[in-house]
Symmetry: C2
Subunit: 544 residues, 2 copies
């Protein structure tokens, strides 16, 4: 979930100083619009890793905006006054009124997270506390509030470097406390709790935006632009809602052209590559997780055959054992056109017994499928216990092709992240092994492969007009993949990004991932997998 | 929660046979409309007490409607096929496609409820299972599905009579099994689980309708009319939504007059007194929980003084002890104009130390309050530990005056039931004692009191024009009170309905209720209340 926030995105000093004045002017103007007639408050929540710039960013917003219409609240341990009342009393008390912006640091998310990190609460108790958060935010959002949540992230190594740097400088040494280091040692536990927190409370009405906290200029601009876009959007929503109510009362009238033009449509993307403010365009670095992959990785042709056979053998033995134990496996293959999905799938099925797997090629939905919820067609293909089901493309179509091509509305594909996480949660909790592969090739490699396909007769059928059309939308797809990984790579169902410029490397990586995942799935049944050699020895001994 | 479904509502044979043909024709017509162009499925869930007519009602709907576009699913223990897959696989498989109606009996609610009743699961596990239900229904509703849920209710005694009657008749004896009687013996546990189930899963997108199951004609018509109204309403919603999307795309155009007239606005009330279908009006009995109260109850003048002093003494001692232990009390007074709220409050405060209580008279919100969520002003008045806070009118204004006068939109006041339950849940879980009183007088009694007020000089200021206006809306208020009790009288925060035609009776009942509630609140701290006499004896002994 956080890998997409460790890409090292930065903004140069020159770009920053060019863009900030435009953004500032816009934010100040929006504050006035909010004051004038917004029937809602703006609630901005900051959470995240220590040292990722939470308080610095709040200070920055204070600098940029008019502090008279801005309140900031940070919470420590509750006082006696607070302990005398239900936990949320202090948060209710501090809510901004309509037309104002409230910035909240370490607020309702703080206690649930820390309780979990310090192991004062169980996972079920964390969930219960998050249900409370969910209900609280939903009530406010139902009442019209705009809620924006920023999760400021730093990788483990980056956090260490940040703390060390602060400690080295005599001027900032005081800022690093023992607690900071204690927390750093609990980094992994913190991230696990954070992932759960984000999964369960990133909702349509109160989404989390994960912000890479490494570069202060990048994170400042990102937060500022996201905030600006969210406010513009919500003002527009509220106007439409008002019109809907008018329609309901039978007093629907056409939106005047003026109405429509005052609010230019804002981009959906929280950190868009480009944001148009007035006549100016703000440009942010558009680095995605795919651009960070090392596509030069390869497996030598002479090593490949042996490695492949070894891997296939291991996969075969583990899948047979899994079948005996009733452990099912679901493999999801997604990737660029011509990335080698089909070839990789064939290397997997070669390792399996034909009776034990089925391949579900996912194309356009049938009429019957179209008449149901989009997940219905995947539910129906769930196999009986112990089988392997291979989805060649999958439910992720909702947030990839349907998003990019506009087949799903923005609301629909945004909602889909949570729906998919929920679906996969049910699979994994049922004991199913789930592997999700994104086969990645570079844009050049794709072109090379398309050209080969054009030339080679028996490959020509594979290349369609659509492939060329999709290729033109490469950047949109890349952004969609990045968001998909950010939103749906969870600890229980992580994405495996496969560097596939070298087909041999890709196939071996896929097989090894399956081998490990099935082995782990077997272990969860309480009957850990014993490798073949040892197992047969054991059998000989016991029958002796 | 279920008291409103034990009022003995019936429909006469003559009325029934007059109304059914009209309703049938309408339902058949709606089925055709759904088939023709509804972009959503209709999912109807039946749950409730055995013998309350769940399957009979499903049979009735089958008789009334066109069975070709209707599917019915009932679920028993999962088969091997089902156990091999995640629990919800079988429900997903059976979902109706767009344009069809699916009736579901003992479905996703069945296992969570029975597990709890048989004590195979804890309350936390029940909650977790209900979260799963919530997510499932939300996903479907987000996709456009219309979800209607009927909870068929029978009182404990009525259920026993029903089972005995069936057993007596040789023709129906076979229908009563040992399980039925086993379940009857667990009635109270079943109702406790049911209340939690309804509280947590009655949402705007999938509301529960509690139906009194005693009279088969009443329950059949109620379900039929509710279903009809929900479909009409949802079709209309969908048209409006389509227009909203058009507006978003900048292609908003006026709804044609035709469009608006084809769908007449349907009443909000699930079981309205009157439903207009075409030119005909269907009339249902409008019995509310208030009409069932015995308003003749009275306390004799000569007994009153002593009883009052005794009660006040007891309340005083318990509240002092509660203060020592940090247990707060919140008293909510609602009731008809001139029902004697003020007088009752004064009898309570006379029992308390002036430093330990505050009275919050709730009138129109201030400007500042208006700029916040409607619950904000109640959160801010929560006292420190150990105090008594008396709300003279309260957050229930949202579902009473704001509903009846149209100050809150229908969406707002419907949502408020869940918001209020959630708010009160936080109070009670914090250890606060919460008593909610509705002071009830009959309409005649109110008139008498209004007239007295007009005549007596020192009472005249109490009577305003508004009182007379409210009186004209008596029936609307009565329906609102009925719904309020149905939706917010929970096991942790029950309503006390106070028969207040006799002021003395009302005051004693209020004081006794407070006495018992505070005593129970003290007991929950682990320091049970010891009555004065025994306590002093105990003190003497221990100091001796």
């Amino acid at each position: 979930m956080f890998r997409t926030a460790e890409l090292g995105r930065t903004v140069s000093r020159a770009d920053y100083h060019e863009q900030v004045p435009i953004l500032r002017a816009e934010l100040l103007e929006l504050q006035q619009q909010l004051r004038a007639d917004a029937p809602f408050p703006v609630i901005v929540v900051f959470g995240g890793v220590d040292g990722a710039g939470k308080s610095e960013t709040i200070n920055l917003l204070h600098e940029w905006m008019d502090p008279r219409w801005l309140t900031t609240r940070a919470y420590g341990e509750p006082s006696d006054e607070m302990r005398d009342r239900p936990e949320y009393w202090r948060f209710w008390r501090d809510l901004p009124p309509k037309g104002r912006i409230g910035l909240f640091l370490s607020c309702w998310y703080s206690r649930p997270t820390l309780d979990r990190v310090y192991e004062r609460s169980s996972e079920a108790e964390l969930d219960e506390a998050l249900d409370r958060v969910f209900a609280f935010e939903k009530e406010l959002a139902d009442d019209g509030a705009l809620i924006i949540k920023f999760w400021m992230h730093l990788g483990k190594k980056a956090q260490k470097e940040r703390l060390e740097a602060l400690q080295k400088d005599p001027l900032t040494r005081w800022r690093v406390t023992k607690t900071d280091w204690d927390h750093w040692h609990m980094y992994d536990r913190f991230i696990a709790a954070a992932e759960r927190l984000i999964t369960r409370t990133s909702t349509g009405h109160a989404p989390w935006h994960i912000v890479e906290g490494f570069d202060k200029r990048y994170r400042g601009l990102t937060v500022g632009i996201t905030l600006r876009n969210a406010i513009v959007r919500h003002l527009e929503e509220m106007r439409l809602r008002r019109d809907l109510i008018a329609a309901r009362d039978g007093r629907l009238h056409d939106l005047s052209a003026d109405d429509r033009e005052t609010v230019e449509p804002s981009p959906a993307d929280p950190v868009p590559g480009e944001t148009r403010i007035g006549g100016t365009v703000l440009r942010m670095p558009r680095i995605t997780i795919l651009s960070q992959l090392d596509s030069s990785q390869a497996v030598d042709r002479k090593d490949y055959k042996l490695a492949l056979e070894k891997c296939q053998g291991k996969v075969n033995r583990r899948c047979r054992r899994a079948k005996e134990l009733g452990v099912s496996t679901i493999l999801v293959f997604e990737g660029w056109d011509a990335a080698g999905k089909g070839g990789a799938v064939r290397r997997v099925t070669a390792a399996l017994d034909a009776r034990d797997f089925q391949i579900i090629p996912v194309a356009s939905p049938t009429d019957e499928e179209q008449a149901h919820h989009y997940l219905w067609r995947f539910w129906r293909h769930l196999s009986r216990a112990g089988r392997v089901t291979i989805f060649d493309r999958s439910w992720y179509g909702r947030v990839l092709v349907e998003r990019v091509e506009g087949f799903a509305s923005e609301q629909e594909w945004r909602r889909a992240y949570a729906e998919i996480n929920d679906f996969e949660d049910q699979l994994v909790r049922h004991g199913i092994v789930l592997c999700k592969f994104w086969l990645h090739i570079t844009k050049d490699e794709q072109l090379k492969r398309f050209k080969t396909r054009e030339k080679v007769a028996y490959k020509r059928w594979k290349l369609t007009e659509e492939d060329w059309r999709n290729r033109e939308k490469w950047d949109d797809y890349e952004a969609a993949v990045n968001d998909m990984v950010e939103r749906t790579s969870t600890s229980i169902a992580p994405w495996t990004l496969v560097e596939a410029n070298d087909k041999r490397f890709a196939r071996i990586k896929v097989l090894k991932t399956i081998r490990d995942a099935v082995e782990a799935g077997i272990a969860r049944t309480g009957h850990p997998y014993v490798p073949e050699g040892k197992a047969s020895k054991h059998t000989l001994e016991s029958t002796a």
